[in-house]
Symmetry: C2
Subunit: 228 residues, 2 copies
């Protein structure tokens, strides 16, 4: 179930048909992701997706068995890349996990990461909408959470070994709370439709993160002040 067709051309075939097909497939995935990001999965209209993708029902159902598969493929494709680029890789090669976390958060507040913070985080939107409804979506999204949490916890543990992070805290618990606070803050921003609450929340969040440093590793952020 929930087979995500991959259709990768296998051998290096010069078949132009496959190239064209792959292009519309990508267009569909992209359009689907946009629609879902904007209206949620259930309210995402296939007809609208087709309109922006510039193709028709026939094409869609040639490439995907149903809406569910299309949606899942679009989501997985996009979120995996996002998580890898913005969280997993930076954390894995972090010199100091606290600094790295602060930097990432900073970029979220600045709107450098999410195209429009007020539209919320795609993953969070999906999690909220689908977790109680569709087990395939839920399983995937929960898996992302686990990966995410593990990456942060690992980085914190390394920091503990290197003497950068206090040893009297549970890396697992801290990582979980960091994710929760991050997601919660983005949620607040979305409801407020303005980033001021984000700054407020992150101001306290920065303090918390800095409090995780060992004392001989005095507090600072990637940019000093952010408080109003």
């Amino acid at each position: 179930m929930t087979q995500v067709p991959k259709t990768i051309p296998a051998e290096k075939s010069e078949d132009a048909r496959q190239i064209r097909g792959e292009r519309t497939r990508q267009a569909l995935l992209e359009a689907a992701f946009d629609e879902i990001h904007q209206h949620g999965y259930r309210a995402a209209s296939l007809n609208d997706i087709l309109k922006t993708a510039g193709c028709t029902k026939g094409s869609l159902y040639h490439h995907f068995p149903d809406k569910h598969a299309l949606g899942l493929a679009a989501i997985v494709d996009n979120i995996d890349r996002f998580m890898e680029a913005n969280w997993l890789t930076p954390l894995a090669k972090a010199d100091n996990p606290i600094d790295t976390l602060l930097t990432i958060l900073q970029r979220h507040v600045n709107g450098e990461i999410l195209s429009d913070v007020r539209r919320g985080c795609p993953m969070q939107n999906l999690s909220q909408e689908m977790s109680g409804l569709d087990e395939d979506f839920r399983t995937y999204l929960n898996g992302v959470h686990v990966e995410w949490r593990t990456a942060i916890a690992d980085a914190l543990r390394t920091g503990q070994e290197n003497g950068q992070v206090r040893k009297d805290i549970s890396a697992e618990a801290a990582a979980t709370m960091i994710i929760a606070t991050h997601q919660g803050t983005i949620g607040l921003i979305k409801t407020a439709q303005c980033t001021e609450v984000g700054n407020l929340s992150f101001e306290a969040f920065y303090q918390y993160l800095n409090s995780l440093r060992t004392t001989d590793n005095s507090t600072r952020g990637p940019k000093e002040g952010l408080a109003s």
Copy 2:
């Protein structure tokens, strides 16, 4: 727009018609809230609401102009009461804000407050779904957030004046982050469909909240340990 009909019988009229009418109105509100809590606003089916409320379209559209008004009335009615009982009142009459916050959070983790944590917090579900879609819902929900934040910030400020809470933190920022973390944690639980992540996140959250105490006011929670 978005008139929330209130229809409260006004004077003490013995008019049995109004009593009967009020009863179906309440049944509709209750059924609507359940449906919306379960499936979200957009996916909430009027026919299903009518089924559980035990009445028909005619009744519904006699009492409410449209789905929007019904939904909003159901939400406002329910959430206002919830916030008042579980957050605003306890915080207003708190001896020590930190203790009060810890107690409330404890009761969330224990599942004493939300009927089924895995179904999420009704307000959060609504915020996520509707903030980007309907300005009436968004405005109301954001107002609740503001009230909520203000209540926590006020309590923290009082605690600062009483020497229970550190004076070197911004009450506003801390209050905002507390809400974010709380909401974020519930979101994690919903996606994980199990409360373990909740315990993990709250473990770190407790530490953070205790760190807000003044030093001569040593750390403790309403119940001591919760960490695994």
